[in-house]
């Protein structure tokens, strides 16, 4: 089953993934439709850790602790895509799922899918409908810099093994020089900010 992978060195922190996710999950499917709409649901966020930044969202774990913790029958796994899906109609926002998720991937608010006028849990659904239509998840499709990819885990490992050999033998696959410089300067800027000279 395919999963979303993050190559954090390539993340430019442009947050295109966040915008694409918000649009995908908004009834209007448009950027202007979601402006100022507090019910907008964004299932991915670009997190900054010192000078690095990368998108984080649900990892669709196996086994999924959130699913085991849900006492209302709201969380299930799609057997076709492997996506861990949250049904807002059943969710009582009791936070049992969030209490055990180490990735802080589950949030609460009244989204457009909430039916009872109160908050519900929401999280990434791997763009399950898109994936079933052989489309990429919206965040992956939106990523300009190649930081996000959607692929089989085994395939990724095989590719990396081949790549590593090629890098080893041919010195390929380096980031462009200026981009390396940019990353390096960012690292220094942050090191300086936290008091290291």
């Amino acid at each position: 089953m395919k999963k979303i992978f993050v190559d954090y060195e390539k993340c430019v922190a442009c947050k295109a993934c966040e915008t694409a996710c918000a649009m995908e999950n908004h009834p209007s499917h448009s950027l202007f439709g979601l402006l100022g709409d507090k019910k907008t649901q964004v299932n991915v966020r670009v997190l900054a850790v010192e000078h690095e930044a990368f998108p984080v969202s649900c990892r669709h774990c196996e086994p999924a602790w959130c699913m085991d913790a849900c006492p209302s029958g709201a969380i299930s796994r799609d057997s076709e895509t492997g996506a861990v899906i949250l049904n807002p109609d059943m969710c009582k926002a009791c936070a049992m799922c969030a209490m055990v998720c180490p990735f802080d991937a589950i949030s609460f608010k009244e989204t457009h899918r909430a039916r009872y006028g109160r908050d519900v849990a929401y999280k990434c659904d791997l763009c399950n409908d898109r994936v079933k239509n052989n489309e990429l998840p919206a965040c992956v499709a939106a990523c300009h810099s190649g930081a996000l990819s959607f692929r089989e885990h085994d395939q990724l490992r095989r590719d990396q093994a081949v790549k590593n050999l090629r890098v080893y033998l041919l010195g390929e696959e380096k980031l462009p020089k200026n981009f390396e410089l940019y990353r390096e300067l960012r690292r220094k800027e942050f090191a300086q900010r936290s008091g290291e000279k």
């Binding site: 810099s145 190649g146 940019y182």
Partner: protein
């Protein structure tokens, strides 16, 4: 909690206030930086193009698709256009400041404005001489009127000849070099590219035009126009601002004042003037110090009115009036948090919009005055030159009226100040040297002083406040390199005690001896950031005396905590004037290998100056010394 504050500022007064902010949960600019993380890399690389609505477009920094914007613009084109626009904005802000000074001088000369007067007739005559304005048998207003006309023509003239201020002030060798480069560029590329500015407004509008959709896509010609615009600023708009303000308010002379938040006084009505243009603050200071106003303040139980400066308006007041300095731009929020400020009066540039809402947490009146800089939630008192006295009186009265509203329980003023000597205009430096640059050239030639580094301000919240300013300055004077500078750097250096005579002990033996002999600190405050023009004039004077070009002199420029577009313009006119210039943080150009190469390498062969990036004070000082030694070797000294 103090650990975080200590990471944010090297200034102990700021650390105290940041601790307070954390305790009282007052949001600061540092907190907002955290909330902005992560910041978009396309913007930082300069490869985000928002110039038309087919975009916005971004170029993949990994060299993969997309490699071009919708219109076909490459990363090089996009970065060059964005940078040119930054220079245009920077040039326009300082130059517009110059325009106000010129318009005011004209109004004073014609008698339309009687609230201001010509204060420095010596300077008036010096400028007239430089501009070849006849002075013989003419009244001061007549001379001033001609000077103002020439200045105004620099903004608005439409012919293709170089504008008069640049022509008259620029070192002839450099003037010739610019002409030669224009010819050379035409010869080698077949394209007409100009360096000598025709008019300030024109060069800025030219950039706006050529960066319009589907116009100039060539990184080289975009950069050349950027250079032209920056020269229109450094040898034009900024220079006009400095020179004409000296005429109107007096050329700075050496004086001593205190710097840092401790200048606020819990028993007085405290007024802070903040921003850049002195026309308003000169009047506010004058009014606040009047017996009438002092008495009004005493009537309400205060000991009187304590007026202090902040940021570059503060520098203008410090340089000319010896007004105490509350701090540089990163102190602006912290000053309000002392709870002891009745009014913060601002004009233009570098005013955080956050100050309005922050002031509303206290009794502080946050007063905007410029039609070009109004801020929601602020109290706006419209300033007009022609009614300056009356408006200044209203402003001071507003501050006094706020005093009874002060909650003394909220007052916390760090008891920290440093004494600082300021007022080093070019004229004052020459006076110190006995009337000529010769003694300075002499000690440089002997190697007692190895060279001069000019540093310009800003605080950038991404850099620990003042740390780079302080460390770089100390490391340079240790190496017998004289440090001069302006803006928020100057305030940082003043707060750190680097601008008093005690700082001589931090200098190397040679520099220390020279400073002791002249009775000056090893670090000289030349004014506000618009006064970077003073550094250019000084450099020109040194070069002229030696009959060399500026790029031959052992001079280096630096902007170690820069953040504004003004700084991009300043950096570019330093480089264009032949001065290698250091920057930290890196400007948003790394997305273009071509532009990066032009600005850090190719430009050296053309103009003698170039940009370099160093993230640490130690490495930067080292590199600066190497550049200076290289120049000295070339001069054979």
């Amino acid at each position: 909690m103090s650990e975080l504050s200590r990471q944010r500022s090297a200034d102990p007064a700021a650390v105290e206030m940041l601790n307070l902010a954390e305790k009282e949960q007052l949001e600061t600019i540092w907190d907002r930086l955290e909330k902005q993380q992560p910041q978009c890399g396309y913007g930082q690389l300069g490869t985000c193009c928002r110039l038309c609505t087919m975009g916005p477009c971004r170029i993949d920094p990994m060299g993969e698709e997309p490699t071009h914007g919708v219109c076909g613009a490459s990363a090089d084109t996009i970065v060059a256009r964005n940078l040119a626009r930054m220079i245009a904005v920077g040039s326009s802000s300082h130059s517009d400041h110059g325009r106000s000074a010129a318009l005011l001088l004209k109004a004073v000369a014609s008698g339309e404005n009687t609230d201001y007067r010509i204060t420095d007739v010596e300077k008036l005559q010096a400028v007239a001489t430089r501009l070849e304005v006849t002075t013989e048998n003419r009244s001061y207003p007549e001379i001033a009127s001609d000077i103002a006309d020439i200045a105004l023509s620099c903004f608005g003239k439409q012919d293709d000849t170089p504008m008069p201020f640049t022509e008259k002030y620029l070192l002839p060798k450099r003037y010739q070099l610019f002409k030669d480069i224009e010819e050379q560029l035409f010869k080698t590329t077949g394209k007409k590219m100009g360096i000598l500015p025709r008019g300030i407004d024109r060069e800025i509008v030219d950039i706006l035009h050529r960066t319009h959709f589907g116009t100039d896509a060539d990184p080289l010609s975009l950069m050349v126009q950027g250079i032209r615009s920056s020269i229109a600023d450094g040898w034009g708009g900024s220079l006009i601002a400095t020179e004409l303000q000296d005429i109107l308010y007096g050329t700075p002379t050496v004086n001593t004042a205190k710097a840092n938040l401790g200048v606020l006084d819990a028993e007085w009505v405290n007024i802070i003037v903040h921003g850049h243009e002195p026309s308003l603050s000169e009047k506010v200071v004058e009014m606040a110090l009047s017996e009438e106003m002092q008495q009004a303040a005493r009537k309400l139980g205060a000991k009187g009115i304590n007026i202090v400066g902040l940021c570059c308006t503060g520098n203008e007041m410090l340089m000319r009036q010896g007004v105490d300095m509350a701090g540089n731009v990163l102190h602006s929020e912290l000053a309000i948090m002392t709870g002891a400020v009745e009014a913060m009066v601002v004009d233009v540039q570098c005013i955080y919009p956050s100050l309005a809402n922050l002031s509303n947490c206290f009794h502080t009146k946050f007063i905007t005055t410029s039609e070009q800089a109004t801020i929601p939630e602020a109290l706006h008192i419209q300033f007009e030159d022609e009614h300056a006295d009356e408006i200044a009186r209203r402003i001071v009265n507003t501050a006094i009226a706020a005093y009874p509203e002060r909650d003394q329980g909220k007052v916390y003023i760090p008891n920290i100040t440093s004494s600082a000597i300021a007022g080093f205009s070019v004229e004052e430096i020459l006076k110190t040297l006995g009337g000529s640059v010769a003694p300075l050239i002499d000690v440089i030639a002997k190697g007692t002083i190895k060279g001069v580094v000019g540093i310009v301000g800003c605080n950038n919240v991404k850099v620990k406040q003042d740390l780079y300013h302080q460390e770089l300055t100390k490391k340079l004077i240790e190496r017998d390199i004289l440090v001069i500078g302006t803006g928020c750097w100057a305030i940082g250096a003043a707060k750190a005690g680097l601008m008093n005579l005690d700082a001589q002990s931090l200098a190397g033996e040679g520099l220390k001896a020279v400073c002791q002999q002249l009775g000056i600190p090893p670090v000289l405050n030349m004014g506000s950031c618009v006064d970077c023009s003073r550094m250019l004039v000084l450099a020109g004077a040194l070069a002229a005396h030696l009959d060399v070009d500026i790029c031959d002199l052992p001079l280096v420029g630096s902007a170690p905590e820069w953040m504004t577009e003004k700084a991009v313009a300043i950096g570019t006119y330093f480089v264009s004037s032949g001065i290698p210039t250091h920057l930290w943080p890196a400007p948003p150009i790394l997305g273009s290998p071509e532009v990066t190469k032009i600005l850090t390498e190719d430009i050296k062969g053309l103009l003698g100056g170039y940009f370099f990036i160093e993230e640490g004070p130690q490495a930067a000082a080292q590199r600066m010394e190497e550049i200076i030694l290289e120049k000295r070797a070339a001069l054979g000294i």
